[in-house]
């Protein structure tokens, strides 16, 4: 039993719904009690979907348990096939129905539908949403892809499939548009995109492409590996998030297709590298960043933050346990131990400890950061209505790199603003205790400043035990901008303790500063 206040991922059948809702011509009959129908609102409210997800729930009740839930399931399969006329039917159980062991697959087959029936076994007490999506997509591909068949007519030139985008995916809609355009520039034809927008007939045509582009390994790696084994289709490994990764991806794709990468390299719209080099961006150097999200976005965004913006990664983690190995390896590059956790309290504690200047995370981290008064940008699911902006806003490809530049930089104070604040911080009109106006903490900071004046050493940052602060050192430490002050204070105290210093003086402060200098 695990105590959970908030969760990063839903149950695996919600992952299956994300695949079903992305596709055309499929219907999912889910053996589940009525409460499970809440999942519809994820699609209709968060993604603002204009149609209900193609899901029928059996909504069995306690009184059915003693009677015949199996008949109920069969009836719903038959009714759904008649009403929705899908080309393929997915069937499965949610957590409760898993316990009553009705065998949805066997029951659905016994109905004798004329369409393919794909039975999903998604262990709800072991697995989670992304695993469920991945398994569902894999089962669909495994059962419907016409491996070994030859295409009716073969189109000229190299072709690929794009695999991974689903309903309720983080920026999937715009990533797909961006990558499709990029691939088009190379003269490569997109055979099928799946699951998003694909019909069962499209899935059958998957093996007719030369290779697969895997955009979201959490969803599509398993299916792509299957296609590699069974249909001999190689797949891409590079995730085109960030400028450098996009260029590397272009080369990888061009290489797989046997074409020249040049038409898709260094296009005019790739502004992010120049923006990063422009002088105003100097202040971004070494900004402490904490990154948390699904494995793909966390790894990629940490790279962008470190290499394309010059931030310092002070924390990297994921809730995707399936990809823990990859994230651990990546974190080592930054001298960090990866945080693999799906307990948001643990993530909150890690962020507090790391004292970052910006957090890149999910909606959960956005709330944690808000609580801690740290700027934040959202980079990963679990999704929120704000993650489906009306405007075009990919995170993949060159435009995606531009979007990431803006997303990571805008929450921070702009460079010039920060410079001016430093210049004027000794002026009486300014107080470094004032937090940036866009964080909305002004009132709080003023109260805090007043409190500091009244009872100097007992402010909230000072530790209860540990070395005492001399007045001049105390005055000096308050000149440090608020967002690094507590870190400086802790480092100084740590240094003092290490060196057996009982009273922190100005000298101690600067010795510590020199000791910890980057």
């Amino acid at each position: 039993m695990q105590l959970a206040l908030w969760t990063y991922e839903g149950p695996p059948h919600v992952g299956a719904m994300r695949v079903a809702a992305a596709m055309r011509g499929v219907h999912y009959v889910l053996h589940a009690p009525q409460g499970d129908t809440y999942a519809d609102l994820l699609f209709t409210m968060i993604e603002r979907s204009k149609t209900r997800p193609p899901v029928t729930y059996t909504t069995f009740q306690a009184r059915d348990l003693g009677a015949d839930t199996a008949t109920l399931f069969r009836d719903q399969v038959r009714d759904a096939a008649e009403r929705f006329k899908p080309e393929a039917m997915l069937v499965g159980a949610s957590c409760t129905a898993e316990l009553i062991q009705d065998d949805p697959g066997g029951l659905a087959r016994s109905v004798g539908l004329a369409i393919p029936v794909i039975a999903l076994e998604l262990p709800a007490y072991q697995r989670k949403e992304n695993w469920g999506a991945s398994e569902t997509f894999y089962q669909i591909v495994r059962q419907l892809a016409a491996v070994g068949d030859a295409p009716a007519e073969s189109a000229p030139g190299p072709s690929c499939n794009i695999l991974g985008p689903t309903a309720l995916g983080f920026r999937n809609r715009d990533d797909l548009a961006e990558i499709t355009r990029l691939i088009g520039r190379l003269g490569i034809r997109v055979n099928v995109t799946a699951p998003l927008g694909a019909s069962p007939a499209d899935i059958a045509r998957l093996p007719f492409a030369d290779f697969n582009v895997v955009l979201y390994p959490e969803i599509a790696r398993q299916a792509a590996d299957f296609l590699q084994r069974s249909a001999g289709q190689p797949c891409t490994r590079i995730i085109p998030i960030g400028h450098a990764a996009t260029e590397a991806f272009v080369r990888e794709v061009a290489d797989l297709a046997g074409v020249d990468p040049a038409p898709a390299l260094a296009p005019a719209e790739a502004r992010s590298p120049w923006y990063a080099r422009s002088v105003d961006s100097n202040y971004l150097t070494g900004k402490r960043v904490f990154v948390f999200g699904d494995a793909t976005h966390a790894i990629a965004c940490a790279r962008v933050a470190a290499r394309e913006l010059g931030f310092q990664v002070v924390g990297l983690g994921t809730y995707s346990r399936e990809f823990a190995r990859e994230v651990r390896k990546e974190a080592e590059l930054y001298g960090q131990e990866a945080l693999i956790a799906d307990d948001y309290l643990e993530v909150e504690a890690a962020i507090t400890r790391a004292a970052p200047e910006i957090v890149l995370g999910t909606q959960m981290e956005r709330h944690i950061a808000k609580k801690l008064n740290i700027p934040c940008a959202v980079i990963s699911a679990p999704v929120h209505v704000q993650d489906f902006p009306a405007r075009y806003s990919p995170v993949m490809g060159y435009e995606g790199a531009n979007v990431l530049f803006d997303s990571f930089v805008h929450p921070l104070m702009m460079g010039l603003e920060e410079h001016l604040l430093h210049m004027f911080r000794e002026d009486f009109e300014f107080t470094t205790d004032a937090s940036p106006s866009h964080l909305g903490g002004a009132g709080l900071a003023v109260a805090d400043a007043a409190g500091l004046a009244a009872q100097a050493p007992a402010d909230s940052e000072a530790s209860l035990a540990g070395p005492a602060w001399a007045d001049d050192a105390e005055q000096e430490v308050r000149k440090i901008p608020f967002f690094v002050r507590s870190k400086a204070r802790r480092n100084t105290e740590k240094y003092a303790e290490m060196h057996g210093i009982a009273r922190i003086t100005l000298d101690t402060l600067y010795e510590a500063r020199a000791y910890y200098a980057r």
Partner: protein, 422 residues
Amino acid sequence: MSVTVEKSPEIAPPPVLRQRGQREVFCGLTGIVWLHRKMQDAFFLVVGSRTCAHLLQSAAGVMIFAEPRFATAIIGERDLAGLADANEELDRVVGELLARRPDIRVLFLVGSCPSEVIKLDLSRAAQRLSRNHDSVRVLHYSGSGIETTFTEGEDACLATLVPGLPVSTDGADLLVVGALADTVEDQFRRLFAAMGVVRVGFLPARRAAEPPSIGPHTRFILAQPFLAETARLLAKAGLKRISATMPLGAEGTRAWFTAIAGALDIPPSRVQEVTEIPYRRAESALRRMHAHLSGKSIFFFRDSQLEIPLARFAANELGMRLTEVGTPYLHRALIAEDLARLPTGITLSEGQDVERQLDRCRAIRPDLTVCGLGLANPLEAEGLTTKWSIELVFTPIQGFEQAADLAELFARPLRRRARLTV
């Protein structure tokens, strides 16, 4: 999936359409979202699956800031395989939780579909945990979707509080049953005081550890229509129920207060006098809304059991035209006064086959459709105007001062549609 049309012997009640099929509705766990706000010293621990946790967080939406006063003990594979004794695990999780939250006085263990299917005995667990944790009262109820529909979760929660109500000869004269927003509760208290009813208890109380006391003389009245089990237990404890319309709208609220006065031997003139000003205020505010809503047709998908009282309000106080009024359950006795005031020529439906209810809604094309969050945007995309039913549960709508707010919930979607040119 059978259809039966029941003709009841009462005075020309509308026919009731009963269908069985997919029900599109929340389970009783959802009640935690408003109950935990109401009882500030209570914590709700769902013993369930990841789905339960996901439902709660999806229904609670953005209330993520503070550490919430609800959580899920997620049953894992080990608990099912019997490798870990589920009771020991539960004790461990509760211990962890109470160590984190020493401010908690009442802990509700909330049963879910999986905990009920595996027959985890939460009532015994609650007794055991109450013994082991001195300062905390541990109670248990079921919010599972195989037993409870949406607002029935509140019913189950309040029902579990009934046996713990202290009994005394100077207990409340009046017990108001059903979670109300604090502002509504305060307004009602003021009106009761002016009427001369001093000893009034509210269930649930703002602090679950300080429940209202009752006595053999206590009369109770429902402020929410979905509290069948709570009402049954109170009646069993010897309390007499006051039957009234639900306190929605100017008329509904006045009838509610009048019924209370009648039961407590307060002269009708006194009620008239006390409620006159707020009644006039509500009525004149409603008259203004009348212009926007009168003659507009309205369709209720089944959701919260508030549908029939809401339909009564919409028809009689706003002049709206009822089409189909769906309800998950029709507890005739509890809503008799609202039911009796419904106009003729409408369809009542109990239970649900959501696909066929959608077909009927599309055929009628009402001016306003009251439905759940899963249906609202798809219906809007089909050109229908909708109101989320869940807002009618979360928003303070009871009482004189909220009558216009309630009307506004119906009027705004229509006004918005008229205003937009895109």
